[in-house]
C-alpha cells in the first residue's frame, strides 16, 4: 500500500488516519439509514458509478483513448448476471461464479471494440466507440426474436440477489440486535470491492504497464520508438477497463433485481465520462470524488429543490428534474473555467530522490 501512503515516514499518523476512514465507512450506512433507506441505495449506486468511472479512467485517463460507448460493458456484465441468475432460463448460478464470467465476457467485448479502433484517435475514435455502445444496446433491445435471449425492452426481472451460504443479500436480517437491511449489506460488499479496485488501479498506474499507457497517451509515436507495443497495450487498456465495467454491471443486476436496455443508454456513457473528466483524468482519487459528486448532487437537488420552491412560492415552479440538469450544466461550465484539469488533476507523484537512491543502493 505504500505506493500511495507513505507509511515509512509517519506510520502512526497514517494508521490513525486509516482507522478513522475505516470507522467512517463502517458507520456511514447507519447514519444514512437514519435519514432514509433511500440514501443507502443512492450511496450504493454512487459506489457502482465509482467502479465505472475507475474502469473508464484506465481507458481515457491512463491510455488517453476517448471511449463514448463504455456503458456497453456495464450492460454486458449486467445481462450476463441477469441471464445466469434469473427465471429467464431457469439458471441460478452463485454470484461468485457469475461476476468473474461477466468480467471475462466484458473483457472480450472490450478487445472486440479495441481491435478495429487501434489506429483511430480523437474524433474518429469517439464516433466508433459511440456506435459500439449503441450497437450493444440495440442488440439487447432486439434479441427477443427469433430466440428470446434478452427479453427485449421488457427487460429481465426477478434477478437473484447475492447469496452466500444461506445469507441472502435481499431482505432484512437481525445480527447482534441490529437490523441489517438489504442495501446495507450490499453497501459493505460494494465498499470492500471498491477498496480492492482502488488499490488495483493505483498499482497499475505505478507500474511498468501504467507508465506504458501514459506514454501512449502523451505521444504514441515516441512510445513506439521506445519499444512499447502500442497495439497490445491499448488492447490491454480496453480489456481492463471493460472488465471493471462488467463487474459493476453484475452487481447492478443483483442489487436492482430488474434490468432493461433502458439502463445502458448513451447518456450513461456520457455521465461516466463526465465523472472522469470532472474528477481529474488519470487521477484515481480524483475520479472517485468526481463519481461521488455527480452521483450525489442530482439526488440532493432532487430532495431539496422541490421542497424549497414549495416553501418560498407555495408551489413548484420549475420541475426539479429540469432544474438539476440546469445546475449540472452550470457546474460543468464553472469547472471547465476554473479547474480545467479536474478537481484533483493528475499530479506527478512526487518522488523523493534521496529516498529513491537510498532504496536503490
Amino acid at each position: 500500500m505504500h505506493a500511495f501512503f507513505d507509511t515509512r515516514r509517519r506510520p502512526a499518523l497514517v494508521w490513525i488516519g486509516l482507522a478513522l476512514v475505516a470507522a467512517a465507512l463502517i458507520a456511514l450506512p447507519w447514519a444514512l439509514a437514519g435519514i432514509g433507506t433511500a440514501w443507502v441505495r443512492i450511496t450504493n449506486l454512487a459506489v457502482l458509478y465509482c467502479f465505472l468511472a475507475l474502469g473508464l479512467n484506465i481507458v481515457v485517463g491512463f491510455a488517453g483513448l476517448l471511449d463514448l460507448g463504455y456503458i456497453a460493458f456495464y450492460g454486458v456484465g449486467a445481462y450476463v448476471y441477469a441471464l445466469l441468475a434469473s427465471p429467464q432460463f431457469g439458471i441460478h448460478l452463485p454470484f461468485w461464479v457469475i461476476l468473474p464470467l461477466g468480467a471475462l465476457l466484458a473483457c472480450i467485448f472490450g478487445m472486440l471494440l479495441g481491435a478495429p479502433t487501434l489506429k483511430l484517435r480523437g474524433d474518429y475514435l469517439a464516433i466508433v466507440t459511440l456506435g459500439f455502445g449503441e450497437i450493444v444496446r440495440i442488440f439487447l433491445n432486439n434479441l427477443s426474436t427469433p430466440f428470446n435471449l434478452t427479453n427485449g425492452p421488457q427487460g429481465i426481472s426477478l434477478i437473484d440477489p447475492f447469496r452466500l451460504d444461506g445469507l441472502s443479500f435481499a431482505g432484512t436480517q437481525h445480527v447482534l440486535g441490529h437490523a441489517l437491511s438489504s442495501p446495507i449489506k450490499y453497501y459493505y460488499f460494494l465498499v470492500a470491492v471498491l477498496l480492492v479496485v482502488i488499490v488495483v488501479n493505483v498499482r497499475l498506474q505505478n507500474s511498468r504497464i501504467g507508465r506504458a499507457w501514459e506514454a501512449i497517451r502523451e505521444d504514441e509515436v515516441a512510445a513506439r520508438a521506445m519499444g512499447i507495443n502500442t497495439r497490445n497495450m491499448k488492447l490491454l487498456a480496453y480489456a481492463m477497463g471493460a472488465s471493471f465495467g462488467g463487474i459493476a454491471g453484475g452487481m447492478f443486476s443483483a442489487m436492482q433485481g430488474f434490468i432493461s436496455p433502458e439502463s445502458f443508454v448513451l447518456v450513461e456513457s456520457i455521465m461516466v465520462l463526465s465523472m472522469v473528466v470532472l474528477g481529474g483524468m488519470g487521477n484515481v482519487f480524483g475520479v472517485v470524488i468526481g463519481a461521488l459528486l455527480l452521483s450525489y448532487i442530482p439526488e440532493v437537488l432532487r430532495y431539496t429543490v422541490g421542497p424549497a420552491q414549495q416553501a418560498v412560492f407555495g408551489r413548484t415552479l420549475i420541475d426539479p428534474e429540469v432544474f438539476r440538469m440546469l445546475l449540472f450544466g452550470l457546474a460543468l461550465v464553472l469547472m471547465m473555467l476554473f479547474r480545467p484539469a479536474g478537481i484533483l488533476p493528475s499530479a506527478v507523484r512526487k518522488r523523493e530522490l534521496e529516498q529513491d537512491s537510498a532504496d536503490g543502493q
Partner: protein
C-alpha cells in the same frame, strides 16, 4: 559501397535504401555502413532525406527497397517497437517527450522494453515486481545523472528548459540499452555552451560503448565529434568518409552553398 554484412567491425549496414512519397524520391539507393563504436554523422541540406532515413531505419516508415543489416541480422519490415527491442533507440528532431510525465518517469518508460512485469505482477506487486521496479528507478536516476538533468527529476518534462529536454530525450533513449543511438539534430536550438556540453556527452556515450548515428546541422559539432560522415542531397548519397575529407569535397560544398556560388568560387 563494398561493405559486407556481418563483418565484425560493422554494426549497421544499409544497402540501396529507397523510399518514395508519391512522385518524390525521398531516398534513392542509399548505402552506407556504421562501424561499432564510432560516431557517424549524417548531414545534408534541408529536405535531403536525413530524417526520412531515420524514419525508415526505425520502422516509422516502411522502405520501398533495400535492406538494413543490424548486428549481423536483417532489420526488415520491423515495427518501431521491434526495432527498439533489437537495440536501436532514437530521439526526434522536434522533441517528443512525454510532456505531462516527470523527467524521471520519461526515462522509466524507456526501461519498458528491457523489463517484464505483467498486469498480474503489477496488481499483486510480488517480490519480483518490486525488485524490478526498484531496478528501473535506480537505473533511470543513474541515466538522469549521466546526462545531467537529475536535479529536475520530479519536474514535468514540459517544464524543463529546452537544452535539458534534449538531454532528457537522450537519457530516455539510453534507457532502452541501445547498441545504436540515433540522434536527430540534438544540438538544434542550443547555444554554444550547451553544444559544448552536448559534445562531451556524446563522447562519453561513445566511450561507454554505444555507437551513435548523428544528424546535425551544426558543422562545428559534426566536424569535431564525428569519425565519419555521410552526406545526403536530394535523397542520394553525395559523399561518405572521414569528416575532414568530406568537408573538402567540392560536391558537398556545392550542395551546401548552392551550385552557382561554388562555380563562381571556382572561377575566382
Amino acid at each position: 559501397m563494398a561493405s559486407d554484412a556481418g563483418t565484425a567491425g560493422e554494426l549497421l549496414v544499409a544497402r540501396d535504401i529507397g523510399k518514395r512519397f508519391g512522385g518524390i524520391a525521398a531516398l534513392s539507393d542509399v548505402s552506407f555502413s556504421i562501424r561499432r563504436g564510432e560516431i557517424y554523422g549524417l548531414i545534408g541540406p534541408n529536405g535531403a532525406g536525413k530524417t526520412s532515413l531515420f524514419n525508415v531505419l526505425t520502422g516509422i516508415y516502411t522502405k520501398d527497397s533495400g535492406t538494413f543489416v543490424f548486428d549481423g541480422a536483417p532489420l526488415d519490415d520491423l515495427k518501431p517497437d521491434e526495432v527498439a527491442e533489437r537495440g536501436i533507440a532514437r530521439t526526434f528532431q522536434n522533441i517528443r517527450l512525454f510532456a505531462n510525465l516527470s523527467a524521471l518517469e520519461n526515462v522509466m518508460v524507456g526501461r519498458h522494453v528491457r523489463t517484464h512485469a505483467t498486469v498480474i505482477g503489477a496488481i499483486f506487486r510480488g517480490r519480483r515486481t518490486r525488485d524490478e521496479e526498484r531496478a528501473i528507478r535506480r537505473r533511470s536516476i543513474e541515466l538522469l545523472d549521466y546526462v545531467g538533468v537529475r536535479r529536475r527529476a520530479n519536474d514535468l518534462a514540459k517544464h524543463l528548459a529546452y537544452g535539458d529536454q534534449r538531454r532528457l530525450e537522450i537519457a530516455r533513449a539510453l534507457a532502452t540499452d541501445p547498441r545504436l543511438l540515433a540522434l536527430d539534430e540534438p544540438a538544434a536550438g542550443m547555444n554554444a555552451t550547451e553544444t559544448a556540453g552536448l559534445r562531451s556527452l556524446l563522447e562519453s556515450i561513445r566511450r561507454d560503448g554505444t555507437t551513435i548515428l548523428l544528424i546535425e546541422h551544426d558543422m562545428k559539432l559534426v566536424m569535431s565529434v564525428c569519425d565519419r560522415v555521410l552526406v545526403l542531397d536530394y535523397g542520394k548519397k553525395l559523399a561518405e568518409g572521414p569528416a575532414a575529407e568530406v568537408q573538402k569535397d567540392e560536391r558537398v560544398i556545392a550542395a551546401y552553398l548552392g551550385g552557382d556560388v561554388s562555380l563562381n568560387l571556382k572561377g575566382t
